[in-house]
Amino acid sequence: MKTPVLEIKNFHVDYGLGEEAVQAVRDVTLTLHRGEVLGLAGESGSGKSTLAYGVTRLLPPPGVISGGSVVYHPPSGDAYDVMTLTDAELRKFRWAETSIVFQGAMNSLNPVHKVSTQMLDVIKAHEPQLSPQARIARAQEMLKLVGISADRMDAYPHQLSGGMRQRVMIGMALVLEPQVVIMDEPTTALDVVMQRQILAQLVELRERLGFSVLFITHDLSLLVEFSDRIAIMYGGRIVEEARSADLYKDSLHPYSEGLLKSFPALRGERRELSGIPGSPPDLRGMPSGCSFHPRCPQAFDRCSSEIPLLEIPSARNDPNRSVACWLPGRTA
């Protein structure tokens, strides 16, 4: 039986206040289970990073969480809502329970401090009772896990390559053994060879440490291979959620289908591909109804007037998948 570790319910994020607020995340409900990799795919502006920042309450102003809850289930003890934590509680919650790896590792490490200083700082802040030797041992062990030799501990970020810096970031995220790791495009700046190595290492670490990953990327082909379940975001909403294999073989939302057809294949027959016509919606003037309808090849009248809900599609009768689309068989 899968147990949830992070439950996002009816989550809303706005940028700005009042009439002019831009609604970046709309009514997102998503559950991350223990030990799974949940992929969150979408184009730029679809709200995927905003969702990650919102969930961890890292959203800088003018971002405002305008509704919803994020329930965290610790391994022992009662579940609580992250949105109601006080500042002090939140400080304890971050790193120790949930950590986040940002897109540009180059920018997330402080260039004037050694890797060791930055790593020990994290441990010191959360486990002040540990002796300095124990902290160093812990940091070294973690770096070894992510494939960096202990003698690089005293290197400055500029002395490491991009891949190594990203490994350090992943190591830092895991050093307190959190339950949830949110990764916001952790490999986009890296080359494919390095990307694959880091992901393989992540899978291995997950098996050993048992954390769950919320993996955010625009590269759907990567997610299909790497994650257990995938949620696709478009215009601030989740439009489809399914197990990776189901989504790849049998996507139900026209946007997921278009996205999957936007990647040229490296193997198999060489097909003519078209991508998706039009351009991603402007959050300041979202289309009425389903936000994908102006680009959708199968849109009909209802799509432009009513917003489809994320429901279990009647045509598949599978509780593990849901889709927000008015096409026949897609609604409950």
Partner: protein, 337 residues
């Protein structure tokens, strides 16, 4: 499939670029002049109506090749020939004459368009500079229609911030076409764009290639898109070309161990579940280009490395399929496969 012979527009031979490294105080006492060996001995040919892809990871020198071909950098050595004529330009009138025929499209359409000017200004400048301002309004309209920004009136007076990424990249393609060039150098033209609109831009470039009979150099790190878009694919590693040939051949029967590594590492949705890593002895690290490895530059990472690989530089060896070659000692005549 063989590479069909059409007219050669631009070719480079022995193209080399070394960037000098600033000498510190201590270096003043030595004779040694350090340099970053960004591009070494590159040979490529752009033909009319054909797309040549240059694939490589970041730092492999692929963008440097484009800038050398565009004469934006002065080369250290080697030849660039336009229609068979060797050319060297250092700005001024000769540079304009050159870039009338060879135009470049940059990676980032957010940075390559001036935010304070309209689409009309960008395109007018391109037409004026290249002496095509005769029927200005008609030409402007034609350019926008060519890049499928229709109706043109709607886009002419927009500022870059009013356009989406894909539209901006189309404007920069239109600006390049304003010179009526024969060769386009596209440096990662779609990597900054949203996934769903990348193919639209690639299909547009392909369409332009066919209609205007352009020679296109397509620089990318995504070998799958090279297979989709390009006729011929060249693979670069650490400043050197390691493999080349027809795109289908290179991607389906990669010969060089680096190309194989690259293809095995590319995300492949058909390979569900098991996340395997291909063999790579250096953990994904490309070598330093200040002191590149002797012999084959891939030898520290190569699982097939032989003693010879560390000492001798492999030349191009022809492979059984016509037009396919690899710079690897594994393919030396009589070498054990």
């Amino acid at each position: 499939m063989t590479v069909t012979e059409t007219e050669v527009v631009l070719e480079a031979e022995g193209l080399t670029k070394h960037f000098p490294v600033r000498r510190g105080l201590r270096d003043l006492l030595t004779r040694e002049h350090k340099a970053v060996h960004a591009v070494d001995d590159v040979k490529l040919t752009l033909r009319r109506g054909r797309v040549t892809a240059l694939v490589g990871e970041s730092g492999s020198g692929k963008s440097t090749v484009a800038r050398l071909l565009a004469q934006l950098y002065a080369r250290t050595s080697g030849d660039i020939r336009l229609h068979g004529e060797p050319v060297t330009v250092r700005g001024g009138r000769k540079f304009r004459a050159y870039c009338r025929q060879v135009q470049m499209i940059f990676q980032d359409p957010f940075a390559s368009l001036n935010p304070t000017h309209t689409v009309r200004y960008h395109l007018t400048r391109s037409l004026r500079i290249h002496g095509r301002a005769g029927d200005l309004e008609d030409n402007l309209r034609d350019l926008l229609v060519q890049v499928q920004l229709t109706p043109p009136e709607r886009y002419l007076d927009k500022f870059p911030h009013e356009l989406s990424g894909g539209q901006r990249q189309r404007v920069s393609i239109a600006r390049a076409l304003g010179a009526d060039p024969e060769a386009l150098l596209a440096d990662e033209p779609v990597s900054m764009l949203d996934v769903s609109i990348r193919l639209g831009v690639l299909n547009l470039l392909r369409d332009l290639k066919e209609r205007l009979n352009l020679a296109i150099l397509y620089i990318t790190h995504d070998i799958a898109s090279a297979r989709y878009f390009a006729d011929e694919t060249l693979v670069m590693y650490a400043g050197r070309m390691v493999e080349g040939g027809d795109s289908e051949t290179v991607t389906q029967n990669p010969a060089h161990p680096y190309t194989r590594l690259l293809i095995e590492s590319a995300p492949d949705p058909d390979r569900l579940g098991e996340l395997s890593t291909p063999e790579d002895q250096a953990g994904g690290e490309p070598p330093s280009l200040i002191a590149p490895p002797t012999g084959c530059r891939f030898n520290p990472r190569c699982v097939h490395a032989m003693p010879k690989c560390t000492t001798d530089l492999p030349p191009r060896f022809e492979l059984p399929i016509a037009g396919h070659w690899a710079a690897c000692w594994l393919y030396e005549e009589g070498a054990a496969q």
